[in-house]
Amino acid sequence: MTAAQVIFLITAVLTLGAGVYVVAARNLVHAALALIAAFFGVAVLFVLLQAGFLAAVQVVLYIGAIAILIIFAIMLTRRVMEDTGPQTNRQWWLAGIIALVLFGAIVFSLRLVPALQGVTAAAQPIPTDTIEKLGFAFVDPNQYLLPFELASVLLLVALIGSIVISADRK
């Protein structure tokens, strides 16, 4: 059990627990805060995968922008402070069993994929200039230039769409 594996296990358990609490929390703002904890757990997982840039992006975008938007959206509803009662119904044990069976089936079928056989943590050395390669890939016509420009068009569409929708309310 290396230190990295221990940290991975702890982070995975915390992230999954936060994820479950998002759905099971009675207070809406508590659910939002648990979502932020789950985002942070994902950032730690990125770091464990040697993707520091993605970890920083995860915190900046998801926690710094999207989580705040979610909290704003929650505040737009009026009855935020109320306790909305228990979040489960009487068949929750059956749902839990089905979810576990499904999880087992997915893990079993993943183990049959040939590309994933025998992959261990330190199998391949990670190159150190991944960010430069990523940056170059964004603008290289042979690689990802078209998706890059399409991403800006997609962002433009999102911006215009949100303004059109919100302008109708004024």
Partner: protein
């Protein structure tokens, strides 16, 4: 380890001595690494939490001199122990938690606020060999922990169960979130110039300080960082005359003290970051050979930046929220986008033309910035002229009678005066 290395490069010398000590005790190298890391963290965190004691005194004295008074000078020599007295006072206050406050979130908010600020000091290079850790995404990491601070304010305001705290928190978060856009954009410029996000590499790439090659970006970065801290003129967060104390109304004692310390430390961090990104960080004569000199240069530049922040606080009035948001979205963001476009095009053209001398590069980029500033001035003065013409045309119709009367008065005045 001889005395020479100890004086000129103390951190590395002590670290090597400790590493040898630990390996002599039989510890595995990884465990020794972790212990050294923890020691380093203790040093950085302690210094960055004790520094506000001096910073608060410095600020109060400077603001007092600008207001033509003396400031704290009773407690200790020159009033240096004033902040310690204030801290003791905060420590023995009663801890009041308002009814209906969400206990966990209420207690977590000030801690998160402090974490957000002192984590920035983990990646700032103090000297050529003294840095907490050299992340390859240092600049982006700074913004990410800054956004944790925004979250802390939101949590603090919401959990206080107080209308004014909630209102203050909303306005604060709207301001902080808005000003993060030009902050990120202007942070991109030193990254472009240094070709790396790592702060140590950015400092090493500054043969010529980046403020010469990118003055507009430096200005935008400084102004938006001050807005991110929440200092005057952007201090709607704690507009005492308007919404009492904003999001930290319901905080007493040391919890309030932690918000307070976090704000002052953040203000100093703004000066430190401007020094690192635009003023050359620890660079100076002799900094490479004797890293302790690098720390001195860095502190000097950081305090210069902090002094400008204090100047802004004591001289400028508070800005209104709609003016503030207009300033951000209609001026700073387009300006930052224009700076990036000009810098990127200019640097690539300069590179393709084969000019590699740092002074020539910086000088040409400075000229590019001047051209951009000229364009901005032309656009703004054109818009101002148009607005003045509209206003004059609008007034001419309904103010005709009043204008004629005023003209008559004006004419009667000089005529009446010689008669006396």
């Amino acid at each position: 380890m001889d005395v020479g290395t100890l004086i000129s490069n103390p951190v590395v010398a002590i670290r090597e001595w400790l590493a040898q000590l630990l390996s002599n005790l039989g510890l595995a190298p990884q465990a020794a690494d972790v212990i050294l890391m923890i020691l380093g963290i203790l040093v950085i965190a302690s210094v960055s939490l004790i520094l506000p004691l001096f910073l608060i005194w410095f600020e109060r004295r400077v603001v007092a001199r600008m207001q033509d008074r003396i400031g704290p000078n009773r407690v200790g020599p020159q009033g240096l122990l004033q902040t310690i007295a204030d801290a003791v006072k905060l420590l023995i206050k009663e801890d009041i938690t308002p009814i209906g406050a969400d206990k966990l979130v209420y207690n977590l908010a000030p801690i998160l606020s402090v974490i957000a600020v002192i984590s920035m000091w983990a990646v700032i290079p103090y000297a050529a060999t003294m840095v907490g850790t050299t992340l390859n995404v240092g600049a982006l990491y700074l913004v990410s922990v800054g956004s944790l601070g925004t979250l802390a304010i939101m949590m603090g305001g919401w959990s206080s169960n107080n209308k004014y705290a909630l209102l203050g928190a909303f306005r604060t978060v709207a301001q902080l979130v808005s000003y993060e856009a030009p902050l990120l954009l202007s942070l991109l410029v030193p990254v472009i110039l240094a070709r790396s996000m790592d702060l140590n590499t950015i400092v090493r790439a500054q043969n010529v300080w980046f403020i010469v090659a990118a003055p507009i970006a430096a200005l935008i970065f400084f102004v938006t960082s001050v807005a991110e801290v929440g200092r005057t003129p952007f201090d709607l967060l704690e507009a005492e005359s308007e919404i009492v104390a904003g999001f930290h109304i319901e905080y007493t004692g040391m919890k309030f003290g932690m918000f307070f310390v976090a704000e002052f430390l953040h203000a100093f961090t703004v000066g430190a970051l401007t020094a690192v990104l635009f003023l050359g960080g620890w660079r100076g004569p002799g900094a490479e050979q004797a890293p302790i000199l690098g720390v001195g240069y860095f502190m000097l530049k950081a305090f210069a930046g902090y002094f400008v922040v204090i100047l802004m606080r004591s001289a400028l009035p508070r800005i209104r929220i709609d003016h503030m948001l207009d300033l951000n979205w209609k001026f700073l963001v387009p300006l930052a986008l224009a700076v990036i476009v000009f810098t990127v095009l200019g640097d690539k053209v300069i590179g393709e033309a084969g000019i590699t001398s740092p002074w020539a590069r910086s000088g040409l980029l400075f000229l590019v910035n001047l051209v951009l500033a000229g364009l901005v001035y032309a656009v703004l003065s054109g818009a101002a002229r148009r607005q003045r013409a509209e206003e004059a045309a609008g007034q001419a119709h309904d103010g005709q009678g009043a204008l004629a009367e005023a003209a008559a008065h004006g004419e009667a005045g000089p005529h009446a005066a010689p008669a006396h």
